[in-house]
Point group: C2
Chain length 190, copies 2
């Protein structure tokens, strides 16, 4: 049976390696490892559970399925338009990757794969649910506009991108084309 | 919003620790680690890719999302009935866990969680697609019945259980009750 696929371009690669900030900074390329981007605050095979995993006591060591976050250029543009601002940068959302050409990124099914020219592969682990910090960062960048932080919750709904885990390590570079294998949840890939 | 949940009983825990066989043997309990059951042939944070992951060259080291397999007692009974045999044992399928009380196990959505009394947690990584070996093992056990191996492909379709990864390590014991958190793929758990 034919699997659905899509192609997209990597417009930015970013790392969160400042100790006091979730805001990411741009790189031209990086070698992904099992666990994500070494040096990034979310790097690791395991991570400490937080409010997103209420079934575990806070701080429990669990499998890290949120190694990297990815957002869509098209979806960030819609957020900006809805907030009435010029732009919303992926760095303000602490994103590790910005893709262009795949507008439905946030609803990419769990288990989908994102494959890079070097053979590097990511597994989509689902929608990245909003938290308050990006809204606050947007507000900082547009201090004269009211309530951007709270309005981001609604504007960012179902547009905030996905979280991924590294399936197969390797290089990733800005301007590369990626192939997205879209999982069929009724007949999932192995 | 209310998440769907279900409860089930662990009827058997099994390990595949014989070097030349995928067939599992029963244990009363085991301490699961990140990577699965130590000593089991599928144990590991990473694994070598095979025909199930055609997007990678065979033998590529990839993230192991097939650490443990789980089958449903109810679904094995349906397989046995359809094949016209007395029973189909989970060991013949190389399963690590047998659950009773949750008939829809094989279609449990990716990202669902299975939680044990000790706090141990598994993440469902999707349906376990059939391969030829269990059919051959069933045939070995009922040598006088024709074509059980090939008939298992159809009888096992959508009944062959799921694959899981260990999210939070800990003890698991036979006869424990597990809580299943059923993922909503349109609004997935984090």
């Amino acid at each position: 049976m034919q699997m659905k696929t899509a192609d997209a371009i990597v417009k930015a690669i970013m790392i969160a390696d400042q100790p006091e900030s979730f805001v990411t900074r741009r790189l031209e390329e990086i070698e992904l490892e099992f666990g994500g981007m070494r040096g990034d605050r979310h790097f690791g095979i395991t991570a400490k559970s937080d409010v997103r995993q209420p079934m575990y006591k806070k701080g429990t060591e669990i499998l890290n399925r949120r190694q990297l976050t990815m957002v869509s250029e098209e979806q960030l543009a819609i957020i900006a338009e809805e907030l009435g601002v010029e732009k919303v940068l992926p760095e303000w959302l602490g994103a590790n990757m910005l893709l262009s050409g795949f507008e439905e990124l946030t609803t990419l099914p769990i288990g989908s794969r994102i494959l890079f020219p070097d053979g590097t592969g990511l597994i989509c682990m689902g929608e990245n649910k909003p938290c308050i910090h990006p809204g606050q960062m947007i507000q900082v960048n547009y201090p004269s506009l009211p309530k951007l932080d709270t309005r981001f919750v609604k504007a960012g709904y179902k547009r905030r991108g996905i979280v991924c885990a590294v399936e197969r390590p390797g290089m990733i570079r800005v301007n590369e084309e990626v192939r997205i294998l879209i999982n069929d949840v009724d007949n999932p890939m192995q």
